[in-house]
């Protein structure tokens, strides 16, 4: 577990690579600057919670990490490898689609709106990527999917279509779907924000189990209770920069910056 601040000095290159490392990452959409120099590090098995007001760039940061968005400046590494590019002789080469897909396959992502495939059953949602991307035999994939649905408490929903499930159930299927690719890193983009309040607990419980099992996770969330319980580090972002970071307990109980303080005053 690490609790290094985002503003920490350059990491020691001799140590084992961080799971995620961002150095002065910039991203803009047209003239709108969304990320304005992000530095951060996520160690293996670390659970990092990212909080901040809407529009602060939290989701964009997650989407850059699995290259759903291209960054404009800076460097981003996942597991010691550059995201989206290959560096050879001081020159950057864009990766081919095949290479980008292969890297995305190692990173699980859970969306605010679940984004389950509505024309497939829960089981088919989970088996789709292992079969199509990894070439796993169908029988083996179905076994794996049943294990994972069991893990998220939905063993009896294998044959249900997403429309037949509650939001909380859908989100747990989405988590199982991401886990089926056996990712080394899981990204959660406000996973409980679209849920009815009484359904949030089930999803958070699954995420807490996952954190306890040693999964490296970056969680964009407004659930401060979850962040306090399951998070190793907390990052507060505002206006495209990391304002403050540290242990969740410290950030929540004793924020150092005015902006953090005023944000927490509104949400707590």
């Amino acid at each position: 577990m690490t609790a290094q601040g985002a503003s920490a000095s350059l990491p020691d290159p001799s140590s084992a690579p961080m799971m995620v490392r961002a150095e002065a990452v910039y991203k803009s959409f047209g003239r709108l600057q969304v990320l304005r120099g992000i530095d951060l590090e996520v160690a293996r098995q670390e659970v990092m919670c990212v909080i901040g007001p809407s529009g602060s760039g939290k989701s964009t940061l997650l989407r850059c990490i699995n290259h759903l968005e291209k960054i404009n400046a800076g460097r981003l590494w996942v597991d010691g490898e550059l995201v989206g590019y290959r560096q050879r002789g001081g020159k950057l080469y864009e990766l081919r689609e095949r290479e980008i897909s292969a890297k995305r396959a190692e990173i699980g992502m859970v969306f605010q709106q679940f984004n389950l495939f509505p024309h497939m059953t829960a089981l088919e949602n989970v088996t789709e990527a292992p079969i199509r991307v990894k070439g796993m035999p169908k029988v083996r994939a179905a076994e794996l999917a049943r294990e994972l649905l069991d893990q998220v408490g939905l063993q009896d929903k294998a044959a249900a279509y997403p429309k037949q499930m509650s939001g909380g159930q859908q989100q747990r299927v989405a988590i199982a779907r991401a886990l089926a690719m056996q990712p080394k890193l899981m990204l959660f983009d406000e996973p409980t924000s679209a849920l009815d309040p009484e359904l949030v607990g089930d999803v958070l419980a699954v995420m807490q189990d996952l954190a306890a099992s040693g999964m490296t996770m970056i969680v964009v969330t407004h659930e401060m209770g979850f962040a306090r319980e399951a998070g190793d580090t907390m990052v507060f972002m505002d206006d495209g920069v990391v304002v403050e970071s540290g242990r969740p307990r410290d950030v929540l109980a004793n924020p150092q910056r005015d902006r953090t303080r005023s944000f927490l005053a509104k949400v707590l």
């Binding site: 190692e106 984004n115 495939f117 408490g153 939905l154 429309k163 159930q169 089930d202 419980a205």
Partner: protein, 334 residues
């Protein structure tokens, strides 16, 4: 956590469980229904018109029902029907394949590809299909010799355009290429109707663009694509009658050939019309089942097939058909 009330207690809020538990059944409302004299009048008019239509169909000897019966299953008419169906099926197959390719090109980030697709649609949608049929039929005036080979290089195969492009080939080309332009817009609308989050979720799982399109986007787009495609197929069945102008003996030209000799124009046109109606009806039924197939997951419960509905109607003896069991989420399963 809401405490589980006894079954049948209905809506209870926490702290209210004991408040209102009714024992007697609710008294159903009985009221005098509103009268609708306008509806009765309209129904009477429709009935009258229907009676007049039936009367003239039976009593006017110039319909010549005997002649209709005589030619209805004649081999010349059935051959024409076969050509009509062949034209419809092949032209639609070309149209759908072309439409998918053009729609994907149209949505490509490459401006040359999307531009080419745009130009194709512009050209083929912007000219009458009858003109296009005549154009393909007369292609030999433009290119007397058609050859296959390396562009600007040697050729491997060549043929006389007149022998290669027969009337039937011209009809298939004309109808199929024209249909491609319309299908392209239908497929494009279908692809655009699928939420962006779907392709993002697929990409985040490591699926490539082609896989995402085939496995995730197109199956969902089908729900939007099928109904207008059914429409296009029915429309194509009838548009194929235009091939009669370029001497393809499809259904219309087949009956024209007969009545140009016998002068039984109206009965033979009725023969053709009846066949068009029959095939259209069959296509409509087929469309219903295809739509039902692609509705998987879009509704909580698939609609009943007409057959299931009929059975339910026959075996419930005037009781209102029972609601299908609602497949509501059964609460958090943890």
């Amino acid at each position: 956590m809401p405490s589980s009330a006894e079954p049948g207690a209905g809506m209870t809020r926490p702290g209210q469980e004991q408040a209102t538990v009714r024992t007697e059944p609710p008294q159903e409302i009985r009221a005098v229904p509103v009268r609708h004299p306008g509806r009765w009048l309209a129904a009477a008019v429709v009935l009258l018109l229907a009676a007049m239509l039936a009367h003239t169909l039976v009593t006017n000897p110039r319909f010549q029902w005997g002649v209709i019966g005589h030619y209805f299953l004649s081999s010349r008419v059935l051959d024409g029907l076969g050509i009509t169906i062949l034209l419809t099926v092949v032209a639609m197959a070309i149209g759908i394949a072309l439409g998918v390719i053009l729609a994907i090109m149209r949505l490509s980030p490459n401006p040359l590809l999307s531009g080419a697709s745009w130009a194709y649609i512009w050209l083929f949608r912007g000219t009458p299909v009858l003109v296009q049929l005549l154009f393909w039929f007369n292609l030999a005036f433009l290119y007397p010799r058609i050859s296959l080979g390396v562009p600007f290089g040697p050729e491997f195969f060549h043929a006389n355009a007149n022998s290669l492009i027969t009337a039937l080939a011209a009809a298939i080309l004309g109808l199929g290429l024209n249909e491609g332009a319309y299908m392209a817009e239908i497929v494009r609308a279908g692809i655009l109707s699928v939420e962006h989050g779907q392709s993002e979720a697929a990409q985040a799982l490591g699926m490539r663009r082609g896989q995402t399109l085939r496995r995730i986007i197109l199956p969902q787009a089908m729900r939007v694509i099928i109904p207008p495609t059914g429409n296009e197929t029915i429309s194509m069945l009838k548009t194929s009658s235009l091939a009669s102008v370029i001497t393809v003996t499809e259904l219309l030209y087949a009956v024209q050939l007969i009545y140009s000799v016998t002068f039984q124009t109206i009965p033979l046109l009725i023969v053709a019309s009846l066949w068009y109606l029959i095939v259209t009806s069959l296509l409509t039924i087929g469309q219903y089942y295809i739509e039902r197939h692609y509705a998987r997951g879009s509704a909580r419960q698939l609609p009943l097939t007409p057959w299931q509905r009929l059975r339910r109607l026959l075996f419930t003896f005037h009781a209102p058909p029972p609601e299908p069991p609602a497949q509501l989420p059964a609460g958090p399963g943890r």
